[in-house]
Amino acid sequence: MNATPLVFVQNLKKYFPVTRGVVFQRVIGQVRAVDDISFAIEAGQTLGLVGESGCGKTTAGRTLLALYQPSGGRVWIDGHDVFAARGAELMALRRKAQIIFQDPFASLNPRWTVNAIIGEPLRVHGLSKTERERTERVQQLMELVGLSPRQINRFPHEFSGGQRQRIGIARALASDPKFIVCDEPISALDVSIQAQVVNLLEDLQDRLGLTYLFIAHDLSMVRHVCDDVAVMYLGKIVEMGSKDELYEHPLHPYSQALISAAPVADPHTARRKKRILLEGDVPSPLNPPAGCRFHPRCPLRLERCTQEEPLLEQVAPDHHVACWAVKAG
């Protein structure tokens, strides 16, 4: 394992303004989509970011690549300060850090051929001298992700969902990145295809030494793919740890509920399994609860939780939790 992390995120914040009025727009509030999160990913490792819809995991992934203007915090990728980078340094960063999107239908231009889609990063970053060289490189990339290079002049609609996701992966790999944000790369795919794409991502990691931030809501898949896992709730990381520690000894009541609610494909275990049922729904991030954001749904709620926000604290090597009840024992 490397001593210095490849990706280092410190106090990252992203607030979206909520406006009212068409002509005279006023800001009437802020959605705190990502509210002060910090983590690090060592080179060659995979960090899983899990949570339910609206918890800010996708926003976190996009903001740390500076695809959204951050509201606060700093991010270093391979030693470069992402938010301070300009000009040539920013271009170099964009080459090193790439993203794979969730929806393989919406994230590919339907009017472009595969050649144009996968070749675009090569063109933008000037990575191939001639058109011929670029086409050859695109063909190599297609082979790398398990597509037939003969299909280079086809359009996205001629491919199945799994193949389209492979095109998205090839595009991300075109600029020879070190770090890839995988934003729910398999959740739009059928079960039989999910395993294909996950295995491909793992093979590529082994061969190319890639570092992943794997954003997902499927907790079983995250346990399979990741080395470390961070659980998000309403813009905050509530628990973080190495995967086996976190799945076998979850401490935060939200992580416990999340893990207990995940279905298991075995009727004997499923019948024995005690599900922790949370009351109600996730509150609006526009107006999050005071104190601990989870307290209105929390079975362990203390007086303190309603007033004071718990911070992420270390409870064991490689295991951090933000919870007053855990702290109180």
């Binding site: 079983s220 346990r223 509920a257 893990i259 275990t269 049922l277």
Partner: protein, 329 residues
Amino acid sequence: MSVILEVKDLVTRFDTPEGTVYAVNGVSFHLNEGETLAVVGESGCGKSVTMMSILRLLPMPPAKILSGSAKYRGQDLLQLPEDVLEHNIRGREIGIVFQDPMTSLNPVLSIGYQITESLKYHLNMNEQQARQRAIEMLERVGISDPARRLSDYPHQFSGGMRQRAMIAMALACAPSLLIADEPTTALDVTIQAQIVELMIHLREQANLSLIWITHDLGVVAGLAERVLVMYAGYIVEEASVDELYDHPAHPYTLALLAALPRIDKRRSQRLKSIPGAPPNLLVKPHGCPFAPRCELAFDRCHIENPPLGAIAAGHSSACWVDVNTGRPQ
């Protein structure tokens, strides 16, 4: 145990500009009184189309039911006059819950209107009685302050509450059979667990027979008594839930289970992926539909489609190969 629904040799096709879609290709199954049956398969396997055919909810054309019968307590639903089906069966004897509660609720009508509508139509209740019954139903599915919530519109409900309202609506006329088409797929895991618990509770309370359509072998394990696995418009395996997970007999079921990571176990190996892509339904089925992706396929599989045959008591599989030995049966 008496049989509540018996479907025989159902064949449904769609005529589209691209050609004929072979959606359901001779499906036969039955459901016992008070039983929970899960229909599992990936997108396009015909699981929803089968149920929609039985209820005659498909637009015809393009859909065409070529043959088959669907006897509900002795009455063939495919032969009943439309007005009898609409007034006495659909929404009255057989309730339906759809996958996406946002698109299947009418956004411009209040929740109360949408629940009372079916009560007034099917049970000839007056406004007062229907309102009272709607309040009871919302309370039973766990919506707090139901009297006030009746005048809310769907957008004022969260995703989980909308699905609860859909369930309340489906159960309002006290049907004997409920068909739930991927009712938890659009929901987050903690909300999914709430809905599954609710269904288990309601099923016992109301002595419901339940058909649960899903692609998730995990959800099924804790819920169903019997499972049908579908592929390319065919039932390829049928078994009790324990038998199916303990002794899967069709290579497709086997492969699906091996492709799923387990949340409750440490990672031991790579996921086993199913090669190739889901079947193209525009091509007339020829041989076993799974043969092109099957590890165990031999000559006969590509020529002749195996019939669904009993291999043990209550366990049928459509395969020429014995999966335990890998040799032809």
